[in-house]
Amino acid sequence: MSTVPTIAPPAETLEQHFRRLAETWKRAVAHLSSTTVRNNHPAYNEIIGLGTAVLPLLLQDMEANNTHWFRALRELTGADPVPPSAAGDVPEMVSAWLKWAKEHGHQW
């Protein structure tokens, strides 16, 4: 009896993996205000689990869409460049992170 070879689907690239998880997260939390729930959604944690290789994608999405990747960036870099005066001010927090990333040689 002959066997039919199965063709494995191509593995996801890091970017595809990130975009799939980010889309899942955004769909799940877009209508929610709770920072706790938003920052601890399983897809968000899974993105952090992708490691520092995902940093350029986080920075790119943050720059384009002001996406709240603040906790992920803290976890992955160990940095916290947002001044207390910018707490809760999303455009200011995004600016602080992008400035920090440029100063530390990150490219996106």
């Binding site: 877009a30 920072t35 910018a86 809760g88 927090m93």
Partner: protein, 150 residues
């Protein structure tokens, strides 16, 4: 395109609401209930992802929300019926008593809500009750500034 809000809040399906702003993640429901459209307000310990009144508990409890709104001049009230000379806000909480949403009454008795990072909408208060936001558990009021009396 399918309107996503009735899929999340089934009581909005009768089209008895209207969208009053573009989508933005720069502010959320608590900020908007307080008339602010430049900050994300939520109790969170230690991080700067959201702002919360100084000295108020950062626990995610109705008591902490009540305490926060008291610092801004609100007092508890019995119901959501419109009162001349006052603005009212309503706090929603889920089945575990965790606050999920805050909205503000408009002149005429309707309510305005910022839906997470989506749009502002004008709606009937109870139309956001359900699986996602739970129930209205607290209504508070404060006097309107003299130049805003209806």
């Amino acid at each position: 395109m399918v309107d996503p809000l009735p899929a999340i809040f089934p009581r909005l399906a009768q089209r008895n609401y209207r969208v009053t702003s573009p989508v933005t993640g720069n502010y959320n429901c608590v900020a908007w209930a307080l008339g602010i459209n430049s900050k994300w307000w939520w109790p969170i310990k230690g991080d700067k992802d959201a702002v919360w009144p100084e000295g108020v508990s950062t626990e995610e409890t109705v008591d902490a929300f009540q305490e926060a709104f008291r610092t801004l001049g609100f007092v508890e009230c019995a119901d959501e019926i419109e009162e001349q000379g006052h603005e009212k806000i309503a706090v929603f909480a889920n089945g575990w008593g965790v606050p999920s949403h805050v909205c503000r009454q408009l002149a005429g008795g309707n309510w305005t809500s910022k839906i997470g990072e989506l749009e502002d909408i004008e709606h009937n208060l109870r139309d956001l009750e359900g699986a996602e936001y739970g129930l209205v558990v607290l209504v508070m009021k404060r006097p309107l500034p003299a130049n805003q009396h209806a």
